[in-house]
């Protein structure tokens, strides 16, 4: 069976590192990126099932990534994480059809559950 591909974008390197370790353990294929530019470039080459992105980043930020994905790769599910526990931004992101929204610090267990749910929905 083909592995589900997950992309993690966060300018905090540790987030990517830890997400990779945890998610690879679950049998996912994980690629990590430190900024939006390199992530969007990679999306042009490869299709991902789930993209987990930080909201606030220099240059291309999480919202822009979300909009680009919804426009160009509508099959891809987007999960947003942010250190800004700001409700206004969450509402805006949800309106733009983000699959889930996690404020930092993130519970990896919840993240995994959210990914699983997204993939199940997809499979239906």
């Amino acid at each position: 069976m083909k592995k589900n591909c997950i992309m993690v974008i966060d300018d905090e390197k540790i987030v990517g590192d830890m997400a990779r370790r945890s998610l690879e353990q679950e049998g996912y294929e994980v690629e990590t990126f430190l900024n939006g530019e390199s992530a969007l470039a990679r999306l042009e080459q490869k299709a991902f099932d789930v993209v987990i992105t930080d909201l606030k980043m220099k240059g291309i930020d999480g919202l822009e990534i979300l909009r680009t994905i919804k426009q160009l790769y509508p099959q891809t599910v987007v999960i947003m994480i942010t250190a800004f526990a700001n409700l206004d931004v969450a509402i805006e992101a949800l309106r733009d059809d983000v699959h889930d929204f996690f404020p930092k610090p993130v519970k990896i267990k919840d993240l995994k559950a959210s990914i699983q749910k997204a993939l199940n929905k997809h499979a239906d």
Binding site: V15, S22, N86, K104, K107, I108
Partner: protein
């Protein structure tokens, strides 16, 4: 105090009364003149009649012409009729006494003529003389009152002229006095209002006119005062809400800054727990080291925050602005050398002293020059200028770099806490702290930046003289041209 409206009404009423009085007097004089003039016309007619009588009397006395007596009687009858017809005019002009005397004299004369005509006696020399004398008296009296009235007409004209002359000046002076009174009143009230609004525009919202007058200006002053109070209240509200907003920005920034390392620690711990079995000893130690690094990062953020949340009490003293710049340059000279940056100083020697915490102002200048140096990573020119703004009585510093500039979108945020454009190592607190220090010194900071031409910061501080904090006046004399 009387209302301005009422003052104007009163002044108008007094004017109208004055004009009525003058008009009445003038009318009265004109009536008198008309009466006198009519009398003169009548008198001329009468005098002609009397002259006729006297001529006939002469014919009778000198030539004993009996027909002359008929002539005299006819003239007397005509004159009597005329006298009776115009008696009202004559009485009005010369009075009833004179009229009575005139008719008496005419009757007397008429009786004498009638006696001769009835031939009751033959007129002798003495009777002739009496007749002549009576005619003479009649003629003279008539002439006298005519002449008197002519003189009166002259007098009335002169009197009218005098009265008109005086009333003219009275009206002019009265008008000048009243308008001056009202104008001065309005003028002083307007000046008070101008002062009041000027003080409001300078940010003093205290109602200054404690006892407004009862007139319209008083009402305006009351309105302006209540507006000032309201403005003051609004300004306080705005300042308060701005303070709350900036606390909000600060708290959101703090939350974000703390959440990132916290999240890192949390994710390391969660991952560690789930992958523990598969980790080598070195990997486990590496996990713990990463946690320690993130803890150190948190500690640094908290230390910085505490430094800024407990601003040191400023030690204010009078200082030479150029001296502060020179000392700052010594602090950053190493940084300048390493970064291959040339420095130009344009310091004015006409600067007044200012009243500042030297250490804090140096901190501001270091923050801004350090940003400039980082913006010129490929080398460039740093120009620091000082000048005296005479109109504002302020000292201005200008720090100009030839670096990469600040994008327009960022310009309005550069003084916000935790705002940074630096890839790493920037706390985003430098300019925010600088702004706070400058505001504490009653100063101002503004920035201009255009893509390629670099960035300029202008910082102004009041001279010590402007905030009445000069302790020695050595520099004041220098500046007191």
């Amino acid at each position: 105090m009387m209302k301005i409206e009422h003052k104007i009404y009163l002044s108008n009423i007094v004017h109208i009364l004055l004009l009525l009085l003058i008009g009445t007097i003038a009318m009265h004089n004109l009536n008198a003149l008309y009466t006198k003039f009519r009398f003169i016309t009548i008198a001329n007619e009468l005098n002609a009649g009397f002259l006729g009588i006297r001529l006939a009397e002469k014919n009778f006395l000198l030539y004993d012409d009996k027909t002359a007596l008929d002539e005299i009687s006819k003239e007397i009858r005509q004159t009597s009729t005329t006298l009776f017809e115009v008696r009202n005019d004559i009485i009005r002009a010369v009075g009833a006494v004179n009229y009575g005397k005139l008719t008496d004299l005419l009757n007397q004369y008429n009786q004498m003529v009638a006696k001769i005509r009835q031939r009751k006696f033959s007129p002798d020399g003495s009777f002739n003389n009496q007749l002549r004398a009576a005619g003479q008296e009649l003629k003279n009296f008539s002439n006298d009152i005519t002449e008197l009235e002519s003189t009166n007409i002259g007098r009335i004209i002169i009197r009218s002229k005098t009265i008109l002359h005086f009333s003219f000046w009275a009206v002019v002076l009265f008008a000048l006095f009243f308008s001056q009174l009202i104008v001065r009143n309005i003028g002083s009230s307007l000046r008070r209002i101008v002062n009041l609004t000027q003080s409001i525009s300078k940010g003093n919202y205290q109602p200054i006119d404690t006892k407004p007058s009862a007139d319209e200006m008083g009402a305006v002053v009351i309105a302006i005062n209540s507006m000032a109070t309201e403005l003051g209240k609004r300004e306080k509200e705005i300042i308060q809400s701005k303070r709350l907003a900036s606390i909000g920005v600060l708290v959101a920034g703090v939350a974000h800054e703390l959440n990132n390392p916290l999240n890192n620690i949390s994710m390391i711990a969660q991952t560690y727990e789930s992958v523990y079995e598969s980790l080598s000893r070195e990997e486990r130690i590496d996990f713990m080291n990463q946690i320690e690094e993130q803890t150190e990062r948190l500690r640094l953020i908290i230390k910085n925050l505490l430094d800024f949340s407990r601003p040191k009490e400023p030690h204010l003293s009078q200082a030479d602005p150029n001296h502060v710049i020179q000392k700052t340059l010594e602090l950053i000279s190493n940084m300048l050398d390493v970064s291959n940056i040339r420095t130009t100083l344009n310091l004015s020697d006409e600067l007044p002293d200012f009243y500042i915490d030297e250490h804090q102002i140096q901190q501001v200048l270091v923050n801004i020059t350090a940003n400039a140096i980082q913006a010129m990573s490929d080398g460039g020119r740093l120009t620091i200028s000082s000048r005296y703004l005479e109109k504002e009585d302020e000292v201005e510093f200008e720090i100009r770099d030839t670096g990469k500039g600040i994008p327009p979108d960022y310009l309005e945020h550069i003084f916000d806490p935790f705002f940074t454009t630096k890839e790493e190592g920037g706390t985003g607190l430098g300019l925010w702290v600088s702004y706070g220090i400058i505001k504490q010194h009653y100063g101002n900071i503004r920035v201009k930046s255009s893509g390629d031409a670099g960035t300029v910061f202008f910082i102004t501080f009041p001279s010590c003289n402007k905030i009445k904090r000069c302790t020695s006046n050595e520099k004041e004399l220098h500046n007191g041209h």
